[in-house]
């Protein structure tokens, strides 16, 4: 595991959308949270888990 740039970018964007939704919970913000932010969080989480798994395989822990 060297850096987590893409995962961090996806999560930061998702946090920004979710934060906007928390500030002003209108229909467009809700749709952005439901249809964009949540998948971005999943992408970030899965990307992170994949990097951890690869790291553990490299170190022969798994």
């Amino acid at each position: 595991m060297k850096t987590l740039r893409l995962q961090s970018l996806a999560a930061a964007l998702a946090f920004a959308i979710t934060g906007l939704y928390a500030i002003d919970p209108g229909p467009y913000q809700m749709a952005a949270f439901v249809f964009f932010a949540q998948p971005l969080f999943v992408i970030a989480g899965v990307g992170y888990a994949w990097r951890v798994w690869k790291d553990l395989k490299t170190r022969e822990v798994l």
């Binding site: 595991m1 060297k2 987590l4 961090s8 946090f15 500030i23 809700m30």
Partner: protein, 226 residues
């Protein structure tokens, strides 16, 4: 302060923390962290690698999971208020009419007489949308997608049959309801929704024609002539 306000504040705080962690995380090169570096947290001392990996876990897993959970609580539970429904402009005619002291629709009469003290939309549509069961939630997401992509036409139409249970849950146990002989006659048809309460008790909201752009009542219902 209500719990929905608290969830919004908590979501905002979690997002702020998560956002700044995610801005900082790309600067960390895990291949170049000094193996001798120690990080003192007051209650524990960690190696630099363990500390940064824990922060990555927080930024990309723990804080996002908490943010999604709290924000979804707001999405599902925080949408019961009339103002939440009124945020979509297609709902404005219903809300304007409900608040109209001269309207004779069921919604307006329930509101005017204080029969439903709060969350008036949700109390009669408790099976609907993000607050209802799984099928209702899917329907709510469909409405959200169609509204935000503007893939709908005014006036909007109620899909399916309005369940009488939404009326009967309050009215059926009352002596006033039970004293009406025709209610006993049609009990089975009310139970299986082959007869609507609205057949005898009138319109719940303004008609589809009134809610059509161009109709003389449309500007008033949209609150444009105030």
């Amino acid at each position: 302060m209500e719990i929905t306000d608290l969830t919004r504040i908590l979501t905002g705080l979690l997002c702020a923390v998560g956002f700044f962690l995610c801005l900082w995380l790309p600067r960390v090169d895990f291949g170049k962290i000094d193996s001798d570096r120690k990080v003192h947290l007051g209650f524990a001392t960690l190696s630099g690698m363990a500390f940064f990996k824990l922060l990555a876990l927080a930024a990309l897993f723990a804080v996002p999971a908490a943010s999604v959970a709290v924000a979804n609580y707001h999405t599902i539970e925080g949408v019961h208020g009339v103002e939440s429904c009124n945020r979509c402009h297609v709902m404005t005619p219903m809300v304007t009419d409900m608040h109209d002291p001269h309207s004779q629709t069921l919604a307006a009469r329930h509101f005017r007489n204080g029969w439903i003290p709060k969350d008036q939309c949700y109390q009669c549509h408790s099976d609907y949308g993000l607050a209802g069961d799984l099928q209702a939630k899917m329907e709510g997401y469909r409405h959200l997608a169609r509204y935000t992509t503007r893939s709908y036409e005014e006036p909007i139409k109620y899909r399916g049959v309005f369940p009488n249970d939404n009326c009967l849950k309050c009215h059926a146990p009352t002596p006033k309801f039970q004293a009406v002989p025709s209610h006993a006659t049609v009990r089975a048809r009310l139970a299986d929704n082959t007869l609507s309460c609205l057949n005898c008790h009138g319109r719940a909201h303004p008609s589809r024609e009134q809610r059509t752009p161009g109709h003389t009542d449309y500007p008033r219902l949209m609150g444009e002539d105030e």
